[in-house]
C-alpha cells in the first residue's frame, strides 16, 4: 500500500513545474532617451546616450549623437562634453573631487534634462573573507559567501554600491546596496546571501561610495529586477534626472579587493 502511494507521490511531484520558451507579442514602444552618466574621483565626466528599443529587437543600439551636455561642479567650473562616437560623450576640464556636487545638463532638440550628484571620498574596503554558506541547497558542491570588511565613517550617513566579479566576469543579475543609516560601527562586515561562490573562484569586489539618490535608484533597480521572482508588479526605477529621462547620473569614488576561495 505504502509503495503505491510513494510511487504516485513521486509521479505527482515530477510532473510539477516546468519551463518553456514561448512566443509572445509585445507592443512597440516609441524610443525614449537613456543616459548612463558617471563622474569618478579624479576623472572627467563620461556620459552615454542611447534610445530604448522594442523589447525583442536585436538591432544595434541607436545612439543620440547631437546632444549638448554640460557639467558644473560646486565651484561653478563648467565643462562642455565632446562626442566620441558610439553614444559616448566625455569631458576634459572638470574632474571628480570629493565634496563637490555636480550638475549635469543634457539638451537634446528642445528638451533639457538635469541631474545632480555628490561625490564622496573613497570608501575603505579593507579585506575580503569567505565562509561556508550554511543554507539548504541541492548541489553537491559547497557554497561560499564572501564578506566585505569596510571601515566606515560613523559621523556621516554613507551609501554603498557593490559589484562582484567571478573569475573576471561581472555578475550583473542585480546590485548589492548598503547604507549605514542604522549603524554606528566603525567596521562593517557586509555579505549578500543571494550570491554564492565555489571553491577555486577568484572573487573581486568593487565598492562604490555613492550619494543617497543614486543609492535609491539602484535599490529600485534591484527591486525591479527581482520583481519577476516575487510576482509583484515591475516598474521603471525612478531616475535622478528631471523630465522623465531614463537612467542615472552617478558621482562615485571606488575601492576594490580580490580573494581566491581555497
Amino acid at each position: 500500500m505504502r509503495k503505491l502511494f510513494t510511487i504516485i507521490l513521486i509521479i505527482s511531484f515530477v510532473l510539477i513545474s516546468c519551463e518553456e520558451v514561448i512566443d509572445i507579442n509585445l507592443n512597440d514602444s516609441s524610443p525614449s532617451l537613456v543616459a548612463e552618466a558617471n563622474i569618478r574621483l579624479s576623472q572627467p565626466c563620461i556620459v552615454k546616450l542611447s534610445y530604448t528599443s522594442n523589447y525583442f529587437d536585436t538591432l544595434e543600439s541607436v545612439y543620440e549623437e547631437n546632444a549638448v551636455i554640460t557639467v558644473f561642479d560646486s565651484e561653478h567650473r563648467e565643462d562642455l562634453l565632446t562626442y566620441q562616437g558610439n553614444g559616448l560623450y566625455s569631458g576634459e576640464i572638470v574632474h571628480g573631487l570629493p565634496g563637490h556636487t555636480y550638475t549635469l545638463t543634457i539638451s537634446v532638440g528642445n528638451k533639457e534634462y538635469q541631474a545632480r550628484s555628490t561625490l564622496y571620498s573613497s570608501p575603505d574596503l579593507v579585506e575580503l573573507t569567505y565562509e561556508k554558506l550554511d543554507i539548504p541547497h541541492y548541489t553537491e558542491e559547497t557554497l561560499y559567501t564572501v564578506k566585505s570588511v569596510i571601515v566606515d565613517d560613523i559621523f556621516n550617513e554613507n551609501y554603498y554600491l557593490f559589484r562582484y566579479y567571478r573569475n573576471g566576469d561581472l555578475l550583473d543579475d542585480y546590485y548589492s546596496t548598503y547604507s549605514d543609516r542604522f549603524l554606528d560601527h566603525d567596521t562593517i562586515v557586509y555579505n549578500d546571501f543571494r550570491l554564492s561562490f565555489y571553491q577555486g573562484d577568484t572573487v573581486k569586489v568593487e565598492l562604490f561610495s555613492i550619494d543617497k539618490e543614486v543609492y535609491n535608484y539602484f535599490n529600485l533597480m534591484n527591486d525591479m529586477l527581482f520583481s519577476a521572482m516575487t510576482s509583484s508588479t515591475p516598474f521603471n526605477p525612478e531616475s535622478n534626472f528631471s523630465n522623465g529621462l531614463i537612467g542615472y547620473f552617478m558621482a562615485a569614488s571606488t575601492d576594490n579587493e580580490s580573494i581566491i576561495i581555497r
Partner: protein
C-alpha cells in the same frame, strides 16, 4: 440619512406584535445524527407562508388560529408533512431523513426547492458539502475554497491557489468565518490547500452581494462556514488516506440527545514518506508538514438554552537544521443560544481568532508577525408576525496587530520591532425580512460601524460608516422572479501584500489617519428562473461595484519591517462590473452546474499608470466553469470540472535599454498585457465499497489537468543562450497532469 428614515417608516408596522397570531417553533434536525439542519424550508399550507431554519436549525412561524399542514423540506432529505391545529403556541421539532442520491426519480418530487426564486436575498450560494466531495481537486484534497472558485463571480487568484476574488474585490476583502470566527489566512503550503477540513463542515454559504446587515467588516464577500455539532445519537467516525494527508474524525454523544462532540484532525505526511525512502531525498532534520485540528462541543441545557464551544488549530511547519518557519491560525468560539420566547431567538458569541507567522534564521534570530482578534457578538431575531422577521444586534472586535519584529537573543542592537497596534471596531445592525404582498418581498437593514486605533493617537482617526443593505424580490410567476439589491460594505483592515494570491508573510494593518477604510457600493439585479419543477435553477445577474480607498504601494516598497510603510501606501478608486450566468441541476443521476462570468475590474490610483484607469491584476474578462457529476451505478460516480478563464492582466516590458552592459526592461503601461488564457479539466471517479452495516468505504481516483496543458503560472524574460543575445519569453508552469488516489471510510 433619508434612507434611515425610510427604513424606520418601513419598520413601524413590523414592531406591532399582533396578538391574534399563534406560533409554531422548534428545531429541524437530521434523524440519524441529530445535526441541526441549516436553511431547511418550512411552509404552512394553505396560506403558503414560509420560513427557513437559522444557523442553529431553529425556526419560528406564526399564523392565525386554524388548521394547517406544515411542510418541512431540505435538499437531499425526505420532505416531512404534518397536520396541525393552531389554537395556541406549538413547539414542534422535526427530524428529516437523508435520501440517498442514487435513487433518482422517486426523490425528485420530494426534495425540490424554489428558495432561489422565493427569497429576496440575491447573489447567494449554498454549497452542498456532498457535492464538494465529488469534485476533483489537486492531489485529492477536498477543498471548499477551490469549489467556491467554480461559482459565477468568484475567480481563482492564481493556479492551484485557495485565494479568490469576488466581483472585483481583492483577496483580503473576503470575510471567511468558521463558526463566526474570522480566519485571517485560510491556506496551507504556499496557498495550495485550504485550512478547512471538509469532514467537519456542515454548511457553506457565500454572499457576493445583497449582504444582510448581520455581516460586516470586509468589502467584497462573506463566506460563512458552519462546523458539524457532532452526532448526539451514536458514535461515528470518518477518515481518509490521501497522497498528501491523512484525516480522521470522531463524533458522538456525551449525554444522549443533550450533549455531543466532534473532533477531527488532518496531517500532511510528505516529510514522513520522503524520509523513509532510500537515498536521502529529504535530509534528516528537515521538517515539512501542516496539520489541522477541529473540535466542537454542544450542550442542549433546556428547550430554551443551548451552548456551543468550537475550536480550530492549524499550522504549517517548515524547518531545515537551525532554520525554521511556521505559521497558522487558531480560533475559538463560545456561543449561547437563548429563546426569550417562541418568537425571540438570541445568540451571544465570544470569539477568539489568531494568525501568526514566524521564522528563525538560526536559533537566536527570530521574526514574527500576526494579528489577534477578540470578538463579541450578540444577535437577536424577532419573529414578529408571518410577514416580518427582524434581526438586531451588536458586534465588537478588539484587535492586536503585530506588523513584524526581528529580535536577536544575543544582542539587541540589530533588533527591529515595529510598533504593535490596537484597534476597536464596533457595529450595530438592524435588518428586516418582510413579505410585502404575494409578489414582493424585501430584505433591508442598516449597519453602523465605528473604528479607531487607540494606542497611537497621532496616526489614529475615529471613523463612522453607515452601511445600508437592501434587496427586493418581485415574483413574476411560479417559476421566475426579478431581484434588485444595493449594499454598502466597509473594511477597516488592510492586507499588505506584494502578490495577488496571498502569502503568509503578508501583514494586516488597521485603518489610520493616512490609510482610510475601504468602502464599496454595489448595485445588482438579476432574473431567476427554474425549469422542470425546480430541478434546474438558472439565473442571470448583473452588477456594478464602486470601490473607494483601495490601496497599492509606491514602486519598490519593502513590506517587511518597514517602519514608514504608511508613507509608501497610495490609494485610489476601483470599479468592477459584469454579468453572471448560472445554470444548476442539484438532483438526479446527473448533477452539476455551468457558470459564466463576463466582467471588468479597473483601478485608478494617483501615481500609477499616470493616473489613468488600468485593469486590476485579477481582472478576467471571461471566466467559465462546468461541473458535472454522473452516477454510473449505485456505487460508481464520475465527476469532472472544466475551467476556462482569460489570463490575468500583467505588466510586460514594451521596450528595453542597456545599462552597464545589462539589458534592462522598459515598461510603458500598468497591466497592459494578458497572460495566455487558462483552461484545465479535472476528472474523478468515486468507487464505493460494498455497504456493510457499520462500515462504509470509498476510493477516489482523480486526475488534475487531465489533458496535461501547461498553463502559464508566470512569464519572465531572459537573454537567450542560443539565439545571439536576443531576449526571449519563458513561461513557467506549475502543474501538468497530477493523478491521485484517496481512500475514505465511515464507521
Amino acid at each position: 440619512m433619508k434612507l434611515t428614515g425610510l427604513i424606520i417608516i418601513l419598520l413601524i408596522p413590523a414592531t406591532l406584535f399582533a396578538q391574534e397570531f399563534y406560533t409554531v417553533s422548534g428545531r429541524v434536525t437530521e434523524k440519524s445524527t441529530g445535526e441541526d439542519l441549516v436553511g431547511a424550508t418550512i411552509i404552512l399550507e394553505p396560506i403558503l407562508k414560509g420560513t427557513v431554519t437559522n444557523n442553529y436549525g431553529f425556526y419560528s412561524i406564526s399564523a392565525e388560529e386554524g388548521s394547517y399542514r406544515i411542510r418541512v423540506s431540505y435538499v437531499g432529505y425526505e420532505t416531512v408533512e404534518k397536520n396541525l391545529v393552531l389554537t395556541g403556541d406549538i413547539k414542534l421539532d422535526i427530524e428529516l431523513i437523508e435520501t440517498s442520491i442514487e435513487l433518482s426519480e422517486v426523490i425528485i418530487s420530494a426534495i425540490r426547492s424554489d428558495r432561489n426564486i422565493a427569497e429576496a436575498e440575491m447573489s447567494i450560494d449554498r454549497l452542498d458539502i456532498r457535492q464538494v466531495e465529488l469534485i476533483p481537486v489537486l492531489l485529492g484534497e477536498k477543498d471548499i475554497l477551490k469549489t467556491l472558485q467554480l461559482l459565477p463571480g468568484i475567480s481563482t487568484a492564481s493556479e492551484g491557489s485557495t485565494g479568490f476574488n469576488v466581483r472585483g474585490g481583492s483577496i483580503d476583502q473576503n470575510l471567511i468565518l468558521l463558526d463566526e470566527a474570522s480566519v485571517y489566512s485560510a491556506s496551507h503550503l504556499a496557498g495550495f490547500f485550504s485550512v478547512f477540513n471538509s469532514d467537519v463542515i456542515k454548511d457553506i454559504t457565500v454572499y457576493k452581494g445583497g449582504i444582510p446587515s448581520l455581516y460586516g467588516g470586509r468589502a467584497a464577500s462573506v463566506i460563512d462556514i458552519t462546523m458539524n455539532n457532532g452526532n448526539n445519537k451514536q458514535f461515528e467516525g470518518r477518515g481518509g488516506i490521501g497522497l498528501l494527508s491523512t484525516r480522521l474524525s470522531i463524533e458522538g454523544p456525551i449525554i444522549n440527545d443533550k450533549m455531543s462532540f466532534i473532533i477531527s484532525g488532518r496531517r500532511s505526511y510528505a516529510d514522513i514518506i520522503l524520509k523513509t525512502m532510500p537515498g536521502d531525498i529529504l535530509e534528516s532534520g528537515t521538517k515539512l508538514f501542516f496539520y489541522d485540528l477541529n473540535a466542537k462541543l454542544n450542550y442542549t441545557a433546556s428547550d430554551r438554552n443551548r451552548f456551543f464551544l468550537s475550536a480550530y488549530l492549524g499550522r504549517d511547519v517548515f524547518g531545515y537544521e537551525q532554520y525554521g518557519m511556521d505559521w497558522g491560525n487558531y480560533t475559538g468560539t463560545f456561543r449561547w443560544n437563548h429563546l426569550f420566547s417562541d418568537r425571540v431567538f438570541s445568540n451571544a458569541s465570544l470569539i477568539l481568532s489568531d494568525f501568526s507567522y514566524g521564522f528563525n534564521l538560526d536559533r537566536n534570530i527570530v521574526y514574527d508577525s500576526g494579528i489577534r482578534d477578540y470578538g463579541f457578538k450578540d444577535d437577536f431575531t424577532f419573529f414578529l408576525n408571518p410577514d416580518n422577521t427582524l434581526k438586531a444586534g451588536a458586534e465588537l472586535h478588539y484587535r492586536l496587530f503585530n506588523p513584524g519584529s526581528l529580535v536577536s537573543s544575543e544582542s539587541s542592537e540589530f533588533d527591529i520591532v515595529m510598533e504593535k497596534k490596537k484597534a476597536l471596531e464596533t457595529s450595530l445592525y438592524i435588518h428586516n425580512k418582510q413579505t410585502i404582498n404575494k409578489a414582493i418581498n424585501a430584505s433591508y437593514g442598516l449597519r453602523i460601524s465605528s473604528f479607531n486605533q487607540f494606542n497611537n493617537m497621532d496616526s489614529s482617526r475615529l471613523y463612522f460608516i453607515a452601511e445600508p443593505r437592501l434587496s427586493f424580490n418581485l415574483r413574476l410567476n411560479e417559476k421566475s422572479s426579478l431581484k434588485v439589491s444595493y449594499n454598502r460594505l466597509s473594511q477597516y483592515l488592510h492586507l499588505l501584500s506584494n502578490s495577488t494570491a496571498g502569502q503568509v508573510t503578508d501583514i494586516w494593518i488597521p485603518s489610520s489617519e493616512k490609510i482610510r477604510p475601504v468602502i464599496t457600493d454595489q448595485l445588482a439585479t438579476g432574473y431567476y428562473r427554474n425549469f422542470l419543477d425546480d430541478i434546474i435553477e438558472s439565473s442571470v445577474e448583473v452588477y456594478y461595484k464602486n470601490m473607494n480607498n483601495i490601496t497599492d504601494f509606491e514602486d519598490g516598497t519593502d513590506i517587511l519591517l518597514n517602519e514608514n510603510i504608511e508613507d509608501n501606501i497610495i490609494s485610489g478608486k476601483g470599479r468592477s462590473y459584469g454579468a453572471e450566468i448560472y445554470i444548476k441541476k442539484n438532483l438526479g443521476r446527473l448533477r452539476g452546474w455551468l457558470s459564466y462570468t463576463i466582467s471588468r475590474t479597473e483601478n485608478r490610483i494617483e501615481g500609477i499608470n499616470e493616473g489613468e484607469w488600468y485593469p486590476a491584476r485579477y481582472d478576467k474578462t471571461h471566466d467559465i466553469s462546468v461541473v458535472v457529476s454522473y452516477d454510473l451505478t449505485k456505487r460508481l460516480s464520475l465527476s469532472s470540472a472544466f475551467v476556462y478563464a482569460t489570463g490575468n492582466a500583467v505588466t510586460f516590458p514594451s521596450g528595453k535599454y542597456l545599462l552597464n552592459g545589462k539589458v534592462i526592461p522598459y515598461f510603458t503601461e500598468r497591466n497592459g498585457y494578458r497572460m495566455p488564457p487558462y483552461h484545465r479539466m479535472d476528472l474523478s471517479l468515486r468507487l464505493k465499497g460494498k455497504e456493510e452495516k457499520r462500515f462504509k468505504t470509498s476510493w477516489d481516483f482523480s486526475a488534475y489537468n487531465v489533458y496535461n496543458r501547461y498553463n502559464a503560472y508566470s512569464i519572465y524574460f531572459r537573454k537567450s543562450e542560443s539565439n545571439n543575445g536576443k531576449m526571449e519569453a519563458v513561461k513557467l508552469s506549475l502543474f501538468g497532469i497530477v493523478p491521485s488516489v484517496t481512500f475514505n471510510m465511515d464507521f
